[in-house]
Symmetry: C2
Subunit: 128 residues, 2 copies
């Protein structure tokens, strides 16, 4: 069976972002990283990460005094989860609508457009 795939809250997502980019990390390391974006207490991050353990969003190694955390689900899986949620709730399940809206929204570079194009071609080629 596939993973449970839990939809993280905003605060949890901020922590996951740090874990994805840093890999194995302590609470202090995550806190230091988050401080670069906004002010928040150390225990706030700690509490959040403890809850995330219970939810299964992260795992931790408790063998040493300072616990070491890591994300339990990958960045791509989580992105898919959040995207699917938004897709159903705001786009009636139409991926096309979502993609077009996303493209019209932001100024993408030519390079990016080309990469999307390439991916589209790949998808089409795969079809029978």
């Amino acid at each position: 069976m596939p993973q449970p795939l839990i939809r993280p809250s905003d605060g949890e997502l901020a922590i996951l972002r740090v874990l994805w980019s840093r890999g194995l990390s302590t609470v202090r390391e995550v806190h230091d990283e988050l401080l670069k974006e906004r002010e928040m207490g150390y225990t706030t991050v700690l509490k959040l990460m403890q809850i995330m353990v219970e939810k299964g969003l992260v795992t931790r190694d408790e063998s040493s005094r300072t616990h070491i955390y890591q994300a339990a689900q990958g960045e791509e899986s989580t992105q898919s989860c959040l995207l699917n949620d938004l897709l159903q709730k705001a786009f009636e399940g139409s991926a096309k609508s979502l993609v077009v809206r996303a493209l019209s929204n932001t100024k993408s570079s030519d390079t990016e457009l080309d990469e999307i194009q390439a991916y589209l071609d790949l998808l089409k080629a795969r079809k029978p």
Copy 2:
């Protein structure tokens, strides 16, 4: 200046969906529509819509006894708002990542892929 553009919650979004598709509606009409999807009390919808008035998500005509509501912001603006939010929080602002993830996620029909393709071409053509 552009509209404030408020990010609706899940419950609010469900109501907005009804208002977008129905146009001017009473609380009862919205409630009846939502009942098709899931069970919920009339006053629950009423309360939500009252709060949405305060937030500016909907407007209402109170001239008659049964108030008549309508969405204050368009569907597309709201989609953009939600999409931008997700873009920043889960995709580091990269529209390309988001689009690719969305495409890889869902089985889009050939027709849809073609439409996306056409939109891509349009975007490219607009570039200098």
